[in-house]
């Protein structure tokens, strides 16, 4: 268990800067997920924490100790690879015990540790097999066992679930979460899967082109994205972006969408700076689940809910929800509707928008207002 701090870390390959000054601070026992598309530098950062890549500038500390020049084996970290990287020539037991063997631990002691980890991961019956005789999920467990056996200060996971099929991935995700709750070890986890990030992380760092876009707890990242990139990367279907003009009607600030008067959407608890944007173009970001079918009983009790009439274009039932494409004053937006509320395609119906969950973005910088 340990803290991990990354201070202004940079990585350059020749003249190409892959990481442009990363700052992250983890408290003991945190679960950090590095999230981003391929090529954003998340794996490079993980490799630098592991010591497999050199650090061009900046500092990485594990438990207050600067580890820039420390060999990977002395950093007290363990890593799970996407390919699992099990040693094909060794049995499962030797795979798990290899790091202890390399550290000169006595055989009896080693076997005890292997057995303890195998019991934890329920792979005791596999100990004598070779990796080639295991299924994908079993290999995944062995790879985790190899990391767990040394009881390291920090666990590093490099897309550990992306080689598994969909069902197994969900199961293993839950198991990783349980393991973390049980062991309480600090974790850095790299993935491009937003669901993995949301479900596992205590904090998410969303990266793009070598820069951290937002570093916050999952719910905050979801509800208050720092910019349009983060807003569109997290959530499925993605957040609706609607161009409009910030205007005032009486004493209320709101967004005018389209030309019609009905296009005025009053803001609920407008951000402080919003006044400076009066008369200017802004982008309104609304999550699909913030647009629902109008229900007078609910709308009456909540002043943030704004009623609008929209034409329905397309319905996409997913079982739990029906994804509905509706026309909001000339802009197509996506709404997440309860299947029981569904409106036939081509009809017009009343919807309500929860403006308490609206986000405003600067159209030029794409940053949150």
């Amino acid at each position: 268990m340990a803290t991990l701090s990354i201070n202004n870390v940079r990585k350059q390959y020749g003249s190409v800067e892959v990481l442009k000054g990363i700052d992250l601070d983890l408290t003991d026992g945190e679960f950090l997920v590095l999230l981003g598309p391929s090529g954003c530098g998340k794996s490079t950062l993980l490799n630098m924490i592991a010591g497999l890549e050199t650090i061009s500038a900046g500092e990485i500390r594990i438990d207050q100790r600067v580890v820039n020049e420390v060999h990977p084996k002395d950093r007290d970290i363990a890593m799970v690879f996407q390919s699992y990287a099990l040693y094909p020539n060794m049995t499962v037991a030797r795979n798990i015990g290899f790091s202890l063997e390399m550290r000169g631990q006595a055989k009896a002691e080693r076997e005890g540790a292997i057995r303890r980890v195998a019991r934890l991961l329920q792979i005791e019956h596999l100990l004598d097999r070779k990796p080639a005789q295991l299924s994908g999920g079993q290999r995944q467990r062995v790879a985790m066992g190899r990391a767990l056996v040394r009881d390291p200060k920090v666990f590093l996971f490099d897309e550990p679930l992306s080689n598994l099929d969909a069902k197994l991935r969900v199961d293993m995700r839950t198991e990783i979460k349980k393991l973390h709750q049980r062991l309480g070890t600090t974790v850095v986890y790299v993935t491009h899967d937003q669901i993995e990030a949301m479900t596992l992380a205590s904090r998410i760092a969303i990266m793009k082109e070598g820069v951290v876009q937002q570093f916050a707890p999952p719910q905050e990242v979801y509800e208050r994205p720092a910019n349009m990139y983060v807003a569109s990367f997290i959530g499925s279907p993605t957040m609706n972006f609607v161009r409009g003009t910030l205007s005032a009607e009486g004493d209320r600030l709101g967004i005018s969408v389209g030309r019609e008067r009905s296009g005025f959407l009053p803001l609920f608890q407008a951000p402080e700076q919003a006044g400076n944007w009066l008369g200017q173009e802004v982008i309104l970001g609304i999550r699909p689940e913030a647009i629902t079918c109008h229900d007078p009983a609910i709308a009456a009790g909540n002043p943030a809910l704004v009623k609008v009439a929209c034409g329905v274009n397309v319905l996409e039932p997913t079982g739990a929800d029906t994804i509905t494409y509706v026309e909001l004053n000339g802009h197509e937006v996506v709404a997440r509707i309860k299947p029981s509320d569904r409106v036939a395609e081509g009809e017009t119906a009343d919807f309500m928008i929860d403006m308490a969950r609206a986000n405003l973005f600067d159209p030029k910088t794409e940053q949150r207002i």
């Binding site: 490799n47 592991a50 010591g51 497999l52 990977p72 084996k73 970290i77 363990a78 890593m79 690879f81 996407q82 390919s83 699992y84 990287a85 040693y87 094909p88 020539n89 290899f98 790091s99 390399m102 550290r103 190899r146």
Partner: protein
């Protein structure tokens, strides 16, 4: 491959059948072309000199006799030395053993370093090593003679071992490098984090995974070095000569009657070890040659 072609519907019609038989005929001719010399050597080696003179070249031996083989093995005169092929056969073994082991080991080490510990200029180094495998062996004769002289190894088995190791390194490095490229780098990363060093990763992980390419390299090097004549004739003196040079000297000795049966037996003795190695390990040889291409 064979299962694929046999699953195809058979060709129909007389024309197709004639073409097929024509194909078999040509294949048979080619097979005979390659096998006939071997057959002649074997039958001749079991004949008496009498029979060779009177009988037909192609006939099978009437009185089967091993005399020529035993004579070639330990009584035939090679130059003035009449101890047969045996001591030279032993020379070859003494040269081939260490030369194969050393060149294979360093080839593996080079391949490992070039792929898994990529340093600045690794590709240039590999390119230069690769160039070595295109060098005609005649080119290195003079500089090598000079070098062996400096080292005091001229004319000795040790000198010949050194020559074969140096010349073979280009090939062995190429083999192992291309094989290790297909082994995932993550294995080395994982082992590094687990606390294994350069040589521990090599001996504990890379070498145990190298069986197919080890067999290929060993067969290749064994065949090359055992069959080498040029280096043996150039760098080994008298008693240290390998079996190929001895065979040449035996066959080219001009005194007395030409003993074809002894010549043939001696040639078979000189050629047998490579045949044996291929028969024993040939299956792995084929598997090793195709290993990298099928599985990533």
């Amino acid at each position: 491959m064979s299962s694929l072609t046999s699953a195809l519907p058979p060709a129909q019609g007389t024309g197709a059948r004639i073409a097929r038989w024509g194909l078999y005929l040509i294949l048979l001719l080619f097979a005979a072309y390659y096998l006939l010399p071997l057959l002649l050597m074997i039958t001749t080696s079991f004949k008496s000199p009498e029979e060779i003179r009177t009988g037909s070249l192609l006939s099978l031996p009437r009185d089967f006799s091993l005399d020529a083989w035993t004579y070639a093995w330990n009584r035939a005169c090679i130059g003035a030395d009449c101890r047969g092929m045996a001591p030279y056969f032993l020379n070859s073994l003494v040269i081939v053993g260490p030369a194969v082991v050393i060149s294979t080991f360093f080839g593996a080490l080079n391949g490992y370093a070039l792929t898994k510990w990529r340093f600045r200029g690794a590709n240039v180094v590999f390119g230069m090593i690769l160039f070595g495998s295109f060098l005609p062996s005649q080119v290195i004769l003079l500089p090598m003679a000079q070098t062996l002289g400096f080292l005091g190894l001229a004319g000795s088995a040790g000198g010949l071992i050194l020559v074969h190791v140096v010349y073979g390194l280009a090939f062995t490095t190429l083999f192992f490098r291309n094989y290790y490229v297909s082994i995932p780098d993550d294995l080395v990363k994982a082992a590094t984090i687990d606390g294994a060093g350069f040589f521990q990763i090599f001996t504990r992980i890379m070498l145990p995974l190298s069986l197919p390419i080890l067999v290929v390299t060993i067969i290749w090097q064994f065949t090359q070095i055992w069959n080498d004549f040029l280096f043996g004739a150039s760098f080994a003196a008298g008693g240290a000569q390998p079996v190929t040079v001895a065979l040449n000297n035996l066959v080219n000795t001009t005194t007395g009657v030409k003993q074809y049966n002894v010549d043939m037996a001696a040639a078979m003795i000189a050629g047998l070890p490579t045949l044996v190695v291929y028969v024993l390990a040939g299956k792995y040889f084929i598997r090793g040659l195709t290993a990298g291409s099928v599985k990533g």
